[in-house]
């Protein structure tokens, strides 16, 4: 009967090779698909965003002097008592945040791999600004990941902090921002945070399907607003230290 032609056979082989069996569980299916991975990024991003907002507001305590700041830091350890043991809340939050960071990072890494593989040959005639947002997210993400490591070593464990005294966050903060490199690292990271939130918030809204043509403007304004407020809020601390408002 009909002789199958070569391309058909090639197609078929390719498809069979490419098509892995689909996981049946909802979570498995979610993690396998690009939209699912982006959903993971959106949700974990939202968790981190909420945390950042609280973190930023907490940071502003620094302007009320060492006592306010240090007692606020102490209070954080007592949240949930007596139901929760001392510092349990903090640890629960740290674990949740760590999970969010890992999920966000792994999904981002895998998606980037897929995206880069999807365009193996580049165009000879390159256009300007084609992938501005994508590049910002990728480089910004890497910068932030490195920053988080430094930030924890600096102000959580105190390992690399010039002061490094437990229970005295106010003094530790001031010590960090008394160094030039502390300021540089922090400024770069906070600008990266702003840009990351600006595109990430908008993208997350699209991924979660809450965007619509009528909401588009509102989403963009909110994204820009959040990015701006968080960047300024965070940067106000080193600026305060630099200008001597905080010492």
């Amino acid at each position: 009967m009909a002789l199958a032609t070569r391309p058909e056979q090639r197609d078929k082989q390719q498809r069979e090779k490419q098509r892995p069996t689909r996981p049946v569980s909802t979570a498995g299916r979610l993690w396998r698909s690009t939209i699912g991975k982006k959903t993971v990024m959106a949700v974990s991003g939202a968790v981190m965003l909420l945390y950042l907002i609280a973190h930023m507001v907490g940071n502003l305590k620094v302007f009320f002097g060492p006592d306010d700041m240090n007692s606020y830091a102490h209070w954080l350890r007592t949240i949930g008592e007596p139901v929760l043991h001392h510092e349990w809340f903090l640890w629960i939050m740290r674990v949740a945040l760590l999970a969010a960071v890992i999920a966000h990072g792994v999904a981002a890494y895998q998606l980037s791999r897929l995206d880069i593989a999807a365009r193996p040959v580049k165009y000879v005639h390159q256009r300007r600004r084609t992938s501005y947002a994508t590049r910002t997210m990728r480089w910004g993400g890497i910068i932030l990941a490195l920053f988080i490591v430094w930030h924890i070593l600096d102000l959580t464990t105190g390992t690399v902090n010039p002061n490094g005294e437990h229970g005295r966050p106010y003094e530790n903060i001031v010590a960090t921002f008394d160094t030039w490199y502390g300021n540089v690292i922090y400024f770069v990271a906070m600008i990266a945070v702003g840009l990351h939130i600006r595109h990430g918030f908008y993208g997350a809204a699209q991924t979660l399907g809450v965007g619509s043509p009528t909401r588009d403007r509102a989403l963009k304004v909110t994204a820009n607003g959040l990015a701006l407020i968080l960047t300024i809020g965070f940067l106000s601390v080193p600026i305060g230290v630099m200008t001597g408002v905080v010492e």
Binding site: D11, R15, Q18, R19, P20, R22, T26, R29, L30, R32, S33, T34, I35, G36, K37, K38, T39, L111, L114, D115, I116, A117, A118, R119, P120, V121, K122, Y123, V124, H125, Q126, R127, T130, S131, Y132, A133, T134, M137, H199, Y202, G203, A205, Q206, T207, L208, G209, V210, G211, S212, P213, D216
Partner: protein, 247 residues
């Protein structure tokens, strides 16, 4: 006018390609871009060289066969199909770079011709309503609100040219896939297969090696039929809804 063309020449799927320079003279501004290539090809044949291979058919902007990246833009400087681009968009002495669609899922067949059969497989995995011939109820049995009919039509306009994939920095087929998902999922006729459609089509899209969406919006800016970005958001929503409901 006289132009310099730099065209991607590649003899077959497994061979190396390169940009080759040609001069064309006496180009009329009323010519379509493909007619300009026709005249080049007539010359090449008479000189005993192989003409430039490119896909084209209706030359009315509706079949979706034509498509090349012109100076880094999918379909060229105007938001239309390559066949509807006219030489009045260019000026005497211009250098024009012409390249094929670039994506892992669209391997080059020859010169500017690529294999877009991945699109057919995406449609085959769910881009239909199961309505075997003869089984249809009377057409007026189910009224469709005009707004839904209009939305469905706007998305059904997609011509499957692949410009969205070519323009996307990630070689993503989200706009193509979402156009069909939104078309059919908006209509009551598409209701019974609403969940399986979006899940299966997205799975196939991922399996074919297209990248993910990073919300750059490049796809919509080149789409000759103006499929909106909200199409992707709606598909994301449909996808997550389908996952929640489970299939």
């Amino acid at each position: 006018m006289n132009l310099t063309l730099r065209i991607w020449r590649q003899t077959g799927p497994d061979t190396e390609g390169a940009m080759t320079t040609y001069e064309v003279t006496d180009v009329s501004p009323d010519m379509s871009f493909l007619e300009m290539l026709d005249t080049l090809n007539e010359d090449l044949i008479l000189r005993g060289e192989e003409p430039v291979a490119f896909d084209h058919d209706c030359r009315e902007g509706i079949c979706g066969a034509c498509g090349m990246v012109i100076n880094g833009n999918a379909h060229g400087p105007e938001r239309t199909t390559t066949c509807q681009l006219h030489m009045r968009q260019f000026e005497d002495g211009d250098v024009i770079d012409i390249e094929p669609w670039r994506a892992a899922a669209f391997p080059v067949v020859k010169d500017l011709v690529v294999d877009r059969s991945a699109f057919d497989r995406i449609i085959g995995s769910g881009g239909y309503v199961t309505a075997p011939t003869g089984s249809a109820p009377e057409a007026h049995a189910t009224p469709v609100p005009k707004a839904a009919a209009d939305t469905a039509f706007e998305h059904a306009e997609c011509i499957g040219c692949g410009a969205c994939v070519a323009a996307c920095p990630n070689g993503s087929a989200m706009l193509f896939t979402s156009a069909k998902v939104v078309h059919l999922n908006t209509l009551p006729q598409g209701g019974p297969e609403r969940e399986s459609r979006v899940l299966d089509m997205v799975d196939t899209m991922d399996d074919e090696g297209f990248g993910g969406c990073t919300n750059t919006g490049m796809c919509t800016t080149v789409c000759p039929k103006g499929i909106p970005m909200s199409s992707i958001t709606t598909m994301n929503r449909e996808y997550l809804r389908a996952l929640r409901k489970g299939v």
